[in-house]
């Protein structure tokens, strides 16, 4: 850094030795996903930035309001060799779903009966739920399950048929898990879309599921998407948490997620890659 050398300059202004401001801003913009260095038209955003924002908001809105294509999701999961079941919450449509979170947490009565009639007693019930982003489910649910299946096979866990659930909140998994009489439930759910992340999937693991479990009794893996936490890493983390949960008999705030540490050690990292190749 040095001071301004121009003779007309009366202030001591630090400027960069080599980089011009445009280059500096380009480098700064590369340091964060935040929308910095946008420039300005007087006091206002340049047209390009306004249009970019509008497009991103439109995509996030579509992610919330596009209905889940349950047939396609079930087909993709079936292609992995996993059985599937269907369920819906008590929220009849998107508008009710958004206004009444309580309805999204409870199973439609006929679906509960159907689930109870199925063969129960699995180690893990997997629920694929639309949540607030069907797009996240369309793009991420099957790849995540594909990455997880080898972990389950290696551990010898018995999996219940994957339940594809519509108009679902996280807590719907409690009732589904209980109806299937599973030891634990993992809900793969479309997260509330951010402007820059309309495709983010969250995973919530709850041991001994039953209606009334609180969020403090769950473990969460969030931001699962191509540009965030990869499917392989998310699957590894879920397997790590489930193994500990079954051994310790708990999930939630008392089960600390130290899977990063396990991942950092060579052997387990190799296990992730093995699993993803298997």
């Amino acid at each position: 850094m040095r001071t301004c050398r121009r003779s007309a300059c009366t202030r001591s202004v630090p400027v960069m030795e080599t980089d011009d401001p445009q280059k500096i801003w380009a480098r700064l913009a590369g340091l964060t996903p935040a929308r910095i260095g946008l420039g300005r038209a007087g006091s206002f955003l340049p047209t390009r930035a306004v249009l970019r924002f509008g497009l991103d908001h439109a995509q996030a809105r579509d992610a919330v309001h596009t209905p889940m294509d349950a047939d396609a999701v079930a087909e993709a999961i079936g292609a992995l060799g996993l059985g599937t079941l269907r369920a819906a919450s008590r929220a009849p449509d998107r508008a009710s779903y958004l206004r009444r979170p309580d309805l999204g947490r409870r199973l439609a009565p006929e679906d509960r009966a159907a689930l109870e009639a199925s063969e129960g007693g699995a180690d893990l019930a997997l629920v694929v739920a639309d949540g607030l982003s069907a797009r996240a489910v369309h793009e991420g649910a099957a790849p995540l399950l594909a990455a997880f299946a080898p972990h389950a096979e290696r551990a010898g866990w018995r999996l219940a048929p994957v339940v594809v659930a519509a108009q679902a909140r996280v807590a719907l998994g409690d009732e589904i898990g209980a109806a299937l009489r599973a030891r634990a439930v993992a809900v793969l759910i479309g997260e509330r879309p951010g402007l820059s992340s309309p495709d983010s999937l969250g995973i919530y693991l709850t041991l001994a599921p039953r209606v009334g479990r609180s969020d403090a009794e769950r473990n969460c893996i969030s931001n699962v998407r191509a540009a965030g936490l990869t499917h392989d890493r998310a699957a590894f983390r879920l397997a790590w948490l489930l193994e500990r949960a079954l051994a310790l008999g708990l999930t939630g705030v008392r089960l600390k997620d130290e899977s990063d540490r396990a991942l950092a050690s060579g052997g387990t990292a190799a296990a992730v890659e093995d699993a993803s190749r298997a």
Binding site: T32, A34, I36, F44, L45, R61, L98, R99, G194
Partner: protein, 460 residues
């Protein structure tokens, strides 16, 4: 005691004051979710008529949550200024509205300690948006730490440089962006992704060094849990403002893991550090309608009244900044742009009437029926209402918290349209380093040139 109001052949009955206030509230999804909202438009209108006839002394005498059951109620009643109340104690809610509309700034300052949150909420429910704006505009609450916030004709901005993984270089880049667009006088405040004390320490040092290096007349804050900040202060880390989210009931505060005594302890620790140069208003609170219902701690009271009770908690600690995060909580509490706009104006009015330096995080999530046009509307109305500060988020997109707030550019817009200035010390600093002219307008030329020496990875 039940309240009644007759409309033609029908008598509307309201079981008690809590029910009356809930049914008089402009309808919103959170009160519906709680089963408290008016069930018809007429019931809503009848409740407003009925509430307008209730003496405010009666509201004071009938706590919505019993004194014995809730420490926020105890705080409200124990700190109530009976002398100041003498000036307004004879009024009904309807009379009080007219009193406020014709009161001077001096009168509003005098009666502020006599206004309980329930009284503020009650009168707000029978006020139109223009009433909320006109009265709030007259209320002036000035606070100081390293600069002066809340002077007439000013609007401050919290620079919010969040990053999804707390990356120091990324956060620094966002701070430079905000400063170069003339934002950051309220506070440079980071919401950390991590809640560890180690991560907190790194961010506190980053803020402290940035503020010292450029001699910025502002304050820093890492918005983490108050107990973590207490630990940071014990370890000698450079804490300027102490932050905490608060709510309007003891049980809701408990769900945030906070008690009044912990807040008192943190307040005293902040005072002992003496890091404010112009004043000792060193606390920063965030609030928002719906938090009590969300925590199942609402006692059958509508969400707007509970929000005003949170300002009573804030008020006793003489904070520098308090803001409602109005549209963050989601459409189950505030469904669309109309509900968010109304709530933002109500919250700002109630806070100002109670003497609290209220700012507003004008914001929404992608599952709410709202967009940038709604935010422009609320932002402009709040500018007219004399809002203490707004948020400045790069491009209005918070990439850590996943919601849309207001941007650095939004602040520039509001200044241009309404002629609003920054905190005077900050305004002078911007001019001194050559970023703005004598009127506070950004000078043409490359953005933030005088600051780029501290660009990460670029400094020689």
């Amino acid at each position: 005691m039940a309240y009644r109001h007759v409309v033609g052949p029908r008598t509307h009955v309201f079981a008690d004051l809590a029910a009356l206030m809930a049914k008089a509230t402009p309808v919103r999804s959170g009160d519906r979710l709680a089963g408290l909202a008016a069930e018809s438009a007429e019931e809503n209108a009848a409740a407003k008529w009925c509430l307008a006839e209730v003496p405010i002394a009666e509201i004071l005498a009938r706590p919505l949550i019993p004194y014995e059951a809730d420490d926020v109620t105890r705080l409200i009643l124990d700190t109530h200024d009976a002398n100041a109340f003498a000036e307004i104690g004879h009024l009904t809610v309807g009379d009080f509205r007219e009193f406020l509309l014709t009161a001077s700034s001096g009168t509003l300052a005098r009666i502020a300690p006599a206004v309980t949150p329930e009284i503020a909420a009650a009168v707000s429910k029978i006020m139109r948006n223009q009433d909320l704006i006109a009265v709030a505009r007259k209320a002036r609450i000035v606070t100081r730490f390293r600069n002066t916030i809340g002077l007439p004709g000013t609007l401050a901005v919290r620079l919010q440089p969040n990053h999804p993984t707390d990356d120091p270089a990324g956060i620094t880049a966002a701070i430079l962006d905000g400063l170069s667009l003339g934002c950051g006088d309220a506070v440079i405040g980071i919401n950390p992704a991590s809640d560890s004390v180690q991560a907190l320490g790194d961010l506190l040092h980053l803020l402290d060094e940035m503020i010292q290096r450029h001699a910025i007349p502002t304050q820093g804050c890492v918005l983490t849990h108050v107990t973590t900040t207490l630990e940071a202060m014990e370890r000698g880390l450079p804490v300027d403002l102490v932050f905490q989210s608060i709510a309007g009931t003891q049980a809701a505060n408990a769900s945030f893991g906070v008690t009044l005594s912990v807040l008192k302890e943190a307040h005293e620790a902040m005072l002992a550090l003496k890091r404010g140069t112009l004043g000792d208003n060193g606390l920063y609170f965030e609030t928002g309608q719906g938090s009590a219902l969300s925590a199942d701690a609402h006692h059958g009271i509508d969400q707007q009244t509970l929000e005003a009770r949170a300002y009573a908690v804030a008020r006793v600690f003489r904070p520098l900044l308090v803001n409602t995060v109005v549209g963050f909580i989601g459409p189950e509490y505030l469904y669309d742009g109309k509900e968010i706009i109304r709530a933002g104006l109500e919250d700002h009015f109630c806070g100002k009437l109670m003497g609290v330096p209220l700012g507003v995080d004008v914001c929404y999530t992608n599952h709410a029926e709202a967009d940038q046009d709604d935010m422009d509307t609320l932002l402009t109305l709040l500018g007219a209402a004399g809002c203490t500060y707004i948020m400045g988020v790069p491009g209005a997109d918070d990439v850590m918290l996943n919601y849309q707030s207001t941007s650095f550019h939004d602040a520039l817009y509001l200044r241009e349209v309404l002629g609003l200035k920054r905190a005077p010390e900050f305004e002078a600093w911007l001019q001194g380093i050559g970023l703005t002219d004598g009127q506070g307008a950004l000078l043409p030329g490359p953005a933030g040139l005088p600051l780029l020496g501290s660009a990460p990875g670029l400094a020689a």
